[in-house]
Symmetry: C2
Subunit: 167 residues, 2 copies
Amino acid sequence: MPDAPPPSLDPVQLGAYFTLIEVTSLLRHAVEQQLREAGNLSYVQFQLLARLGDSPTGSHRMTDLADGVVYSRSGLTYQAGLLEKAGLVVRAPSPDDERSVTVTITDAGRALLAEVLPGHIEVVSGLLFEPLSPADVRALAALLAPVRDHIRAAPPRSAASRRRQAQ
Amino acid sequence: MPDAPPPSLDPVQLGAYFTLIEVTSLLRHAVEQQLREAGNLSYVQFQLLARLGDSPTGSHRMTDLADGVVYSRSGLTYQAGLLEKAGLVVRAPSPDDERSVTVTITDAGRALLAEVLPGHIEVVSGLLFEPLSPADVRALAALLAPVRDHIRAAPPRSAASRRRQAQ
DNA sequence: GCAGCGACGTTCGAATTCGAAGCAGTAGGC
DNA sequence: GCCTACTGCTTCGAATTCGAACGTCGCTGC
């Protein structure tokens, strides 16, 4: 390709982009406070517990967790260490693959999750959903889902060079 | 109030909420890489420069910047220090209020912003807007704007206690 | 089998982040 | 004019975050 067409965003796009970032920043900030007060959890920790609690088996591999919450591997190691020290999860080598580590939520983890969840939901309800009608929420979900799939599918920018580095 | 009505989110709401968080996490991650490569800027730094560049005067007060990008004051002090050391902004005491500090973008700051912006826009276009039609984008903006206003208007959860801390 | 390549998780060091405490400067009541 | 409360920013210490380097394990071709 010669060069990209004048890469600019029209005002509507810019507004949507900025508002998206702003809304999530604000929401995340508020939620973080609530989680800290209610259960001394950081947002990442909550996300991890929530994902584990949602899983049928109550467990996930480290890498899948990191990917799921968009976190660095080393960061996840650190957080998993904290959660384990707090007795909220357990780490064990995978049975089938000796390399990978399986993280499993404990009963204490589920209990804490259950304790924190109502307040969390209340905050999200009050801030994010309060100004939105049920139809709005459906529309929002319908708009964002394809975006998520698209970004997930997109090669992570650095992969391009990696894939064809061997010419 | 006796107690809140069963605070639960229906599956659609949950999906919308999770997708919202996921999309912005992914987007932010991708953008962060691009900014790092293109101009050695963190996302916060870019946001700050962008806000300053957008301002008619090219400047803002520290507090307003921190509020705008949803950042802690101390964090902003740190970042402003970095940007100033890099010659991208200048800090000066406000003329009218001796307490506050006015941050102003320099020509070098504008130049860097201009240099980084096309790539930034390209990433956002390719990831966020690629799966969305112009109508979708309008809808998204229309959905999120009220949410932003609502959250901005909401009392910051901790303000209640601060206001009445003196008994 | 075994050499080489790739995936998984951890360790390490450096940079960033936040809240609490502190230091001015400002506004209002008297 | 002062005293008190409040705002604006910075400093400080502790916690978190990431990428790079590392050790280990699994998979392929031979």
